[in-house]
């Protein structure tokens, strides 16, 4: 075997002289790349599952004072954060007199959303996403999920928020 001439050593196939040879991807290699991508996607799914299992997003614990009832006019909003967390929230006093508190991060790409007074809708200006201000459900545009919300408790003149009880 030693005296056999080898017409195409490794370096020649890996670093061919002709440019076209270097850039051409054979269909066999393409199939292998597809398999590689497939492995990557499976790994990504595994990561999502692990993250959901091991590091679920922290829940809000306890009740937190936000502001006084008189601080927010009807149809108005009040931005707040909960102590010890950086998630921005908005408190909305709907025209119907109901109170709502939502995370101020669009579920599409995390832009800041705002309440459009008089429409009953929360708008995300980035890609024109709209949410129903009563339920937080997305009603138009790219957002795929409802806005995460907090329960609003009115005690006399004070407004508190707390996490919704999960079933």
């Amino acid at each position: 075997m030693a005296d056999e001439t080898n017409p195409a050593p490794h370096w020649q196939t890996d670093f061919p002289i002709e440019r076209t040879e270097a850039t051409a991807v054979s269909r066999r290699d393409f199939a292998r790349y597809l398999c590689l991508v497939s492995g990557g996607l499976a790994a990504g799914s595994g990561f999502v599952a692990l993250k959901a299992q091991l590091a679920p997003p922290a829940e809000v614990v306890g009740e937190h004072l936000v502001c006084k009832v008189n601080d927010v006019p009807t149809g108005g909003t009040h931005a707040f954060v909960i102590a010890g967390s950086t998630i921005p929230y908005i408190l909305i006093r709907l025209e119907s007199g109901e109170w709502r508190a939502y995370e101020q991060k669009c579920t599409h790409l995390s832009c800041a959303v705002y309440y459009k007074p008089g429409t009953g809708q929360i708008e995300c200006p980035c890609h024109n996403g709209f949410f129903d201000a009563r339920t937080g459900e997305p009603i138009a545009g790219p957002p795929p999920r409802p806005l995460p919300s907090l329960e609003v408790v009115v005690k006399g003149e004070d407004i508190y928020v707390k996490a919704f009880r999960h079933e």
Binding site: E4, H10, R27, C35, S38, L41, A42, V48, A52, T107
Partner: protein, 90 residues
């Protein structure tokens, strides 16, 4: 040794071509399903419905394994018919 396979390949040179195309189609189809699974799992996990994440992962893994062992069927064309020891670096 029988030269049946060789003769067949010579008589129908398109065969491995078609096979390879079919193989790639199946791989692309699998990847499409995996993208959908990943999207669904992520979307639901972020919306606090985490129970779909593990089944989606298992499905995705199975699809990957199918694709992986699918590669075994890639027709190797002329290279495979070469005599052992000759041009083995090709």
């Amino acid at each position: 040794m029988s030269n049946f396979r060789e003769a067949q390949s010579k008589a129908h040179p398109n065969k491995s071509n078609t096979l390879l195309s079919a193989l790639i189609c199946v791989l692309i189809f699998n990847i499409g399903m995996q993208i959908w699974l990943l999207y669904t799992a992520l979307n639901n996990a972020l919306g606090k419905h985490t129970r779909i994440a593990w089944p989606a992962f298992i499905g995705s893994l199975i699809l990957f394994l199918i694709g992986f062992f699918w590669l075994y069927f890639i027709p190797m064309g002329k290279d495979k018919n070469q005599q052992p020891g000759k041009n083995k670096y090709r």
